[in-house]
């Protein structure tokens, strides 16, 4: 009886896993097939590998530019929000600031609003007001880095706060007693202890920025286009290059999978605003 239910559970979970994994597997299959084979009978298993799509994507200068942009924007944004979030959390946990709990809650409301709502105002603000002389934030990497702060900075603050709360304040006090400056306390006492939490925050915010599409699609048009927007450019009414589209998808997916393998346990906590420990 007991054994039977174990087998049943196993079969059930293998089926669930196949349903989860098949679409990802299929993406890979399409990416290594020549275009002519796509329209024949779909084979479940691969007979041969066709790497031309990968070569095409890697040798395409525009797409390489997009990849580079994605890399700069997501790295820049992850570094910025983690730094600002860390400092903000240090202030929130170490100082007796008036209304700090309200400020803490207010940060998350920035993330709750649908991004589509902000397309129009951000576009208009960035074209006409957020500019210095001829330099406007529209279609720049720095512009995207700053815009992504509304999504990622609240996240960084909410994930870093428990970490900083967990570091005993006596340590700071002791360091101050020894005559250390505030900067020394932050960088040499608190930061090393917070490193694991900082690493998780850095990686997750990096992936969120890397994955973003909607804002990148409206706030860039040529210079700062990212890989996700490049993907949608391959879907046109006149005909889609399916193989290339699948290959770009694979390229977009790989960094996310790497981060996934490193911080898998923290993803659920991150996506539920810390309501659930993964």
């Amino acid at each position: 009886m007991k054994r039977q239910s174990t087998w049943l559970s196993l079969v059930f979970w293998i089926a669930v896993s196949l349903i989860t994994l098949f679409p990802i597997y299929w993406l890979f299959v399409i990416s290594v097939k020549p275009a002519v084979d796509l329209f024949t009978t779909p084979d479940l298993f691969l007979k041969s590998f066709y790497w031309q799509n990968y070569l095409d994507v890697l040798t395409d200068r525009t797409l390489r530019g997009y990849m580079w942009n994605s890399l700069i924007v997501s790295s820049g944004n992850a570094l910025l929000v983690t730094t600002l979030g860390f400092l903000a959390c240090y202030a929130l946990t170490r100082y007796d600031l008036g209304g700090k709990e309200s400020i803490f809650f207010w940060t998350i409301t920035n993330r709750m609003a649908p991004p589509a709502v902000f397309l129009l105002p951000l576009f208009l603000l960035m074209t006409s007001y957020y500019r210095i002389g001829n330099f406007s934030l529209l279609d720049t990497k720095i512009g995207l880095i700053l815009v992504y702060c509304t999504l990622n900075l609240p996240f960084a603050i909410w994930t870093l706060r428990p970490t900083l709360d967990g570091i005993p304040k006596d340590l700071d006090e002791a360091a101050y007693m020894d005559g250390a400056s505030s900067w020394k306390v932050i960088s040499e006492v608190v930061f090393p202890l917070a490193r694991p939490g900082v690493a998780v925050t850095l990686m997750l915010t990096w992936v969120f920025a890397w994955n973003e599409y909607l804002l990148a699609a409206t706030l860039t048009n040529f210079n700062a286009r990212t890989l996700t927007t490049g993907l949608s450019e391959y879907v046109t009414t006149t005909g889609t290059e399916w193989g290339v589209m699948a290959t770009i998808s694979v390229f977009t997916l790989i960094p996310a999978l790497i981060v996934f393998s490193l911080v898998q346990k923290h993803i659920v906590a991150g996506l539920t605003f810390g309501a659930v420990k993964g």
């Binding site: 196993l10 400020i103 902000f118 129009l120 996700t228 997916l253």
Partner: protein
């Protein structure tokens, strides 16, 4: 402890960034919603026109249909995810080998970019190259065409969302189920309660806070679904899957009628808040009062 000045100094960059890219756009869009402004029209100046934009909105067929399909999509997707997620979480509570691996695999879709999910499902469901229409036709003689059938396109977007986000519900509920104390269940079994009674009278009330929190998060996310649908169907066929975010991106944004576009944005934001507020007031608040 050092002076509070330093605390504010450390917090300031965060507040400044969120002010310029969160608060200002919000105030700006609300302000614009009460104005008429089309920079490429005959009269390109910004004119205050009261609630005129909102009055137009009520009679805008495109907006209303978008609102309708969004609510339908959200309802079907979130309901399916919660039921399926609960079943999966319960199935996970039994003992079987390789739990950690299955859990890892199940978490995988959560890290994927919505637009990649859209692209994957596009590759699987597009007629002529997709594997799903191919086998549906071969085995059941059913012609799945998301480019022509509104129902098919709608259903596939729901299935896609279920594939992408059910794991979040499952993992949240696993966390809730694991933390339940065993005593009430043992007591109920001693008292001779059957499985259904245990579910309705013990399990459900005990994990309802977790379920509500998940519904809340999923609802918020489902209402703003854009990327994956944009990729999969582009909002079509017709306007069958033109959910509010897609509507703003494809219809409102490209037109340069900025005042009216702002009104649409404000209403979408307002609706998101109202739906979440109703859920909070109707479900979460009374429960807290009781407790």
């Amino acid at each position: 402890m050092q002076s509070n000045k330093l605390g504010w100094f450390l917090l300031a960059p965060t507040l400044v960034v969120l002010f310029f890219f969160g608060v200002v756009p919000f105030l700006y869009v609300v302000w614009l919603a009460f104005h008429q402004w089309n920079p490429f029209a005959v009269d390109p100046t910004i004119i205050y026109n009261g609630a005129e934009n909102f009055r137009r909105l009520v009679f805008d067929q495109a907006f209303l249909s978008s609102l309708g399909v969004t609510l339908a999509f959200t309802f079907f997707a979130v309901t399916t995810q919660v039921i399926l997620g609960y079943v999966l979480a319960q199935a996970f509570m039994r003992d079987f080998p390789g739990k950690a691996i299955f859990r890892t695999i199940h978490t995988l879709p959560l890290i994927m970019a919505p637009i990649i999910v859209g692209s994957i499902w596009k590759l699987m469901t597009t007629p002529s190259i997709g594997i799903i229409p191919h086998y549906l036709d071969q085995w059941f003689g059913y012609d799945l065409n998301i480019g022509q059938s509104a129902i098919a396109a709608f259903t596939i977007t729901v299935i896609m969302d279920v594939w992408h986000w059910t794991p979040l519900v499952t993992l949240t509920l696993i966390a809730a189920l694991v933390s339940l104390p065993p005593d009430p269940f043992e007591q109920a079994q001693i008292d001779g309660a059957n499985r259904r009674q245990i579910f309705w009278h013990i399990t459900l009330p005990m994990i309802s806070p977790a379920i509500l929190a998940t519904v809340f998060i999923r609802l918020m996310d489902a209402l703003r679904t854009v990327d994956e649908v944009l990729m999969l169907t582009g909002g079509g066929p017709g306007s069958a899957t033109r959910y509010l975010g897609v509507h703003i991106f494809r219809e409102v944004f490209p037109r340069t009628n900025y005042g009216y576009g702002s009104a649409v944005s404000v209403i979408v934001l307002y609706l998101t808040i109202v739906v979440c507020w109703l859920l909070f007031v109707g479900l979460i608040a009374p429960r807290n009062k009781k407790a």
